[in-house]
């Protein structure tokens, strides 16, 4: 699983949860909060992306992610550790 694959899944889930984000070029530097996601929206994105990627990241690790770059890194580290 590559960083680009993970980001692409997260980006698709963000657009599903926040349709208005479809008009924005979402980058790794964005945070979901910047894109207009409230806490429940953020959980919906993270849960759906994990489901699609077939991984399960403990919440304690997710709280370390403050932008999409760090979220992708947490997912990638988790996927590699369990590969």
């Amino acid at each position: 699983m590559t960083e680009e694959e993970i980001f692409s899944v997260i980006r698709a889930q963000i657009v599903d949860v926040l349709p208005e984000a479809a008009d924005i070029e979402i980058t790794l530097d964005h945070s979901m909060r910047d894109l207009g996601a409230n806490s429940i929206d953020r959980m919906d994105v993270v849960i759906a992306a994990q489901d699609e990627l077939g991984i399960k990241v403990p919440n304690a690790e997710l709280t370390r992610a403050h932008d999409l770059r760090s979220l992708v890194a947490v997912f990638l580290a988790h996927a590699s550790a369990h590969a």
Binding site: L18, P19, E20, I40, M43, D44, D51, K56
Partner: protein
């Protein structure tokens, strides 16, 4: 002596139904006697295991989307359309439909942001509204637990409708969800009128979301024998037949409605158009659980509504009956109407359900809007499927009839022995 609380003005009325998504279109469809009832094909049915028999007729909001609604109602306001999509986009159907009718009613009312924020209360009609959303989520969770959305914690609640509507309209007064099965819409209208008359709020937005059933509730209704499903399957528009000899049960419908209530003098002072007035309201229980209607309780609710309006039965020009097309229900309502009104030839009685289907918890408010539409048009809409009238009542015929109409009664009777009536009138 009964206290007469004073009439309350209706200054906006919005509707979203398979017949139309605005008041003018809805009025035209009613007067034309157009029915939205269709019979889904077995391929469209959620449950095809039992073959064609499992398909039940329905007047459904097929194809309704927030995007289409916004394109029609907010064409020059992309920011408002985007807000609607953001706030309500992932909510369940009841909240999405409530958002549309609430926005439309608030815009039509001409109220400003300040008036909505301060002094306006919100009443949402119905309970257990998002049953299909709940069933889909539970079944989906069984198949794939990982996919459960955190937001279901919110979207399964009737309270989500309050949140969605208040965020979109800016209403910051009291907010309630008020349920009483098929009488919910009328009960919310009653409570809204009392709230304004008592001065508990300057004005009230009453919203009846489209209620949805899962396939399980629909099938349970069928098993009670309450649903029309056997005869006339080739002509679904004829399947719902209130007060007709060949009636066979009710047909489900989906619609949402909203009305804005305020004191008549306050409406006049701000130059708002008064569409109609809620002049009286009555509610009575049968003290009997179950599905069987009771003419005594129905008549008591109608008499209570007349009494709070300070009117006699002779003052009523038109009755919008609960009239579901149920075999026993219609017979009972015919008896209760006879108790209250006798055999007055100058009265007119019809039922809106052959056209809209039975919109369950929204039915009372949808039918109050249908009543206002007919009073304003001075025309009673047809009972299109009334081929062999069974009741000794002055039933409207199979074509629209123009006649002087000033004061109407709208009935809603629900499981659990809940009977509710409102008196609605227009100034000549």
């Amino acid at each position: 002596m009964t206290h007469i609380p004073g009439a309350v003005a209706v200054t906006a009325a919005a509707v979203l139904s398979p017949l139309a998504d605005d008041l003018d279109g809805f009025t035209a469809a009613l007067l034309a006697g157009r029915s939205a009832v269709t019979l889904p094909s077995p391929e469209d049915s959620a449950d095809d295991s039992a073959g064609g028999e499992a398909c039940l007729p329905v007047a459904a909001l097929d194809g309704f989307t927030l995007a289409d609604w916004a394109a029609r109602h907010l064409p020059d306001e992309p920011a408002a359309a985007a807000r609607l999509r953001k706030v309500a986009g992932r909510a369940a159907l009841p909240a999405r439909t409530a958002a549309c009718v609430a926005l439309r009613a608030v815009r039509d009312s001409g109220l400003g942001a300040g008036e909505l924020a301060d002094g306006t209360a919100l009443l949402v009609a119905g309970s257990n509204l998002a049953l299909a959303h709940q069933a889909e989520t539970v079944l989906g969770h069984d198949r794939a637990p990982g996919r459960l959305r955190a937001s279901y914690a919110l979207t399964h609640l009737d309270a989500d409708v309050i949140g969605v509507v208040s965020e979109l309209t800016g209403i910051q007064g009291e907010g309630w969800a008020l349920g009483g099965a098929s009488a919910s819409g009328t009960l919310a209208l009653v409570h809204g009128a009392r709230t304004v008359a008592a001065g508990w709020a300057e004005r009230v937005l009453v919203v009846a979301p489209a209620a949805e059933l899962s396939p399980v509730e629909a099938e349970a209704f069928r098993r009670t024998g309450a649903l029309a499903h056997e005869n006339l399957r080739g002509e679904p528009a004829r399947m719902c037949r209130p007060f007709d000899r060949d009636r066979q049960g009710f047909v489900r419908g989906q619609a949402a409605a909203a009305v804005l209530l305020e004191r008549p003098e306050a409406a006049r002072a701000r130059g708002a158009e008064v569409l109609a007035e809620i002049a009286g309201h009555g509610q009575r229980l049968d003290a009997r659980r179950g599905t069987e209607p009771d003419a005594g309780g129905q008549a008591a609710a109608m008499r209570a509504a007349l009494a709070t309006a300070g009117l006699t039965p002779e003052d009523i020009d038109y009755v919008n009956a609960h009239g579901t097309g149920s075999v026993l229900g219609d017979e009972t309502e015919a008896a209760s109407l006879h108790q209250v009104f006798g055999a007055r030839p100058d009265l007119r009685v019809n039922s809106t359900k052959p056209l809209t289907g039975h919109c369950l918890s929204a039915a009372g408010l949808v039918e109050a809007v249908a009543t206002i539409a007919q009073l304003r048009a001075q025309t009673v809409h047809p009972n299109p499927n009334l081929e062999h009238p069974v009741a000794e009542l002055a039933l409207a015929g199979r074509t629209a009839e123009r006649r002087p109409l000033r004061t109407a009664l709208s009935n809603s009777f629900a499981f659990g022995g809940i009977n509710a009536s409102v008196v609605i009138r227009v100034q000549p």
